[in-house]
Symmetry: C2
Subunit: 318 residues, 2 copies
């Protein structure tokens, strides 16, 4: 028991996670696949002790919905540890929160790792991935080094992420708009599930795309990986757009960036686009092409290049 600090990075999915089949256990409708970034970190310290749970984000005391999610997550950790002790959580996030850079993924990956250590649990990476999943689905993937497949699973035990091999690549993140999302992923998933006529086809289509992506990764086939990435991202955004009323996360400038990515391909720079539930566009490219892609996308917003990074890890435990 004591204090532990963990660092985690966001991840960007090549096969997207959208929709849950169990909201309590956070079991996804289908599996997904992602790259963990080497940049933009969340650093979280959990100190066990005190009269009540406290959550401080980027130096400010947090209350309301965000804090409730953290305290509920601590309850899960306490349950595993057989403890009733309260804790203080100090978290710092480099990325603009809720702007489509998956800060909840790095946030809950760091929290799971730090809290488990602070409460004296000794969990494997797969166990930490399962635990992080309960805070935010995609956090399960930020536990994993480089490239992760998140198995949808049938229950709490079988739904976790693990590392896979994939060709080295870069992600060029273009921040189209750093404002908060109009509709959160969580609410968007519910709205899509409840109103889109296409929703029943989504999970089987995703499982099929995931199987193709795993084969493409195993074959180190960057072209196929890119084509699958862009098509699946568009299917996720198509699914949202088919909700009633329609849900559109991409801005006009996001589409202009996708057009630019297609133009780059036509001129021999092989790059493909994806986007999470927000306006930011993420291009993938071979390492040698990353700088050229970043330069081409810079007219649409600030860009930065990320390489495959480490899964969540402990900085120190006391």
């Amino acid at each position: 028991m004591g204090t532990a600090t963990a660092i985690a990075h966001p991840n960007i999915a090549l096969i997207k996670y959208w929709g849950k089949r169990d909201e309590t256990l956070m079991l996804p409708a289908a599996g997904s696949l992602s790259m963990t970034l080497d940049s933009v970190a969340t650093r979280t310290t959990v100190s066990v002790g005190g009269d009540s749970d406290v959550f401080q984000l980027n130096g400010e005391l947090s209350t309301g919905r965000a804090a409730d999610k953290v305290f509920k997550f601590l309850d899960l950790v306490r349950q595993l540890a057989g403890s009733d002790d309260r804790a203080t959580v100090l978290s710092h996030n480099d990325a603009p929160t809720a702007a489509g850079l998956a800060s909840s993924a790095s946030g809950f990956a760091a929290l799971a790792t730090a809290a488990a250590a602070a409460y004296g649990l000794n969990l494997s990476t797969a166990e930490l991935s399962r635990l992080a999943r309960r805070g935010s689905g995609s956090a399960a993937r930020s536990l994993i080094d480089r490239f992760a497949v998140w198995h949808a699973g049938d229950d709490d035990q079988t739904s976790f992420a693990e590392e896979i091999d994939a060709p080295d690549m870069r992600m060029i993140i273009c921040e189209i708009n750093a404002g908060p999302k109009a509709v959160s992923s969580r609410d968007g998933m519910r709205h899509t599930r409840d109103t889109s006529p296409f929703y029943p086809a989504w999970a089987p289509a995703t499982e099929k795309a995931l199987a193709e992506m795993l084969a493409a990764c195993a074959a180190q086939d960057f072209t196929k990986i890119g084509e699958l990435t862009e098509a699946h991202a568009m299917q996720m955004h198509a699914l949202a757009l088919s909700a009633v009323p329609p849900l559109r996360y991409l801005a006009p400038t996001s589409f202009a960036a996708f057009d630019r990515i297609a133009e780059l391909r036509a001129t021999g720079i092989e790059t493909y686009g994806t986007a999470d539930a927000g306006p930011n566009v993420v291009a993938i490219a071979r390492p040698k092409d990353a700088a050229a892609v970043a330069a081409a996308l810079s007219e649409f917003g600030a860009t930065h290049i990320a390489a495959p990074g480490p899964g969540a890890y402990l900085e120190g435990a006391a």
Copy 2:
């Protein structure tokens, strides 16, 4: 037998037609509903006689695929008329061809009407609608005054359009880009059918939306008509976007126009957007609001306002 001239206008669907279940008979996957415009006309003269079929469009001799479609259509008319006579077709179209203003709809509506008269057939509006359908599916609707429902039907006999009552409204057409479409509707429909995981859900969703739209029209409920219009348009574009590779007809500026339409609604001007298989955006509004909507959309491209117009009609027969 002799010469006949017909005039027809494009129509813009409020419930979209996308996908066929019979490509020879041009039976659609689901029913649809549209407004015939009072502006942008096709004027077509058919003169029976001569050694071979001739097709001239906007003063230029047409050959290749476009001409073949016209001659194949004349074969259908000759079959009905029991004639082997060739014909000369002179057609003039106000709108830029194949730029998303449904020139094929007005084109085949005018051709069906003129050719039937020139070959001495005396067909009802429903029969002309069926005939026009064989040339271009949506042409079935341009036979109809003001507002048309196109019944999907089970066979050639039961698949035709007929007039329905709907509240008076205006369509504000914003020409985002007058260039030719990258992928024709016909090819896009095939690609979507062959590759989109969402395609099986499209026809039932459209029939459901059509039933709701017919009820909203009968109730003269403009708000409901608008909401259904925009949601169904987005579902059609979502369907195209979900194809592999993705098919996107809307340009970044098209999405900016949709954003503007949403802003207008938020400020009390009730307008809703739709778009056919191209970048142009069409807003619907009550007559009193049309000028304000056109002014607001003019920053994205040339706008014009259309009212409900007449179905195809004969100008004269000799």
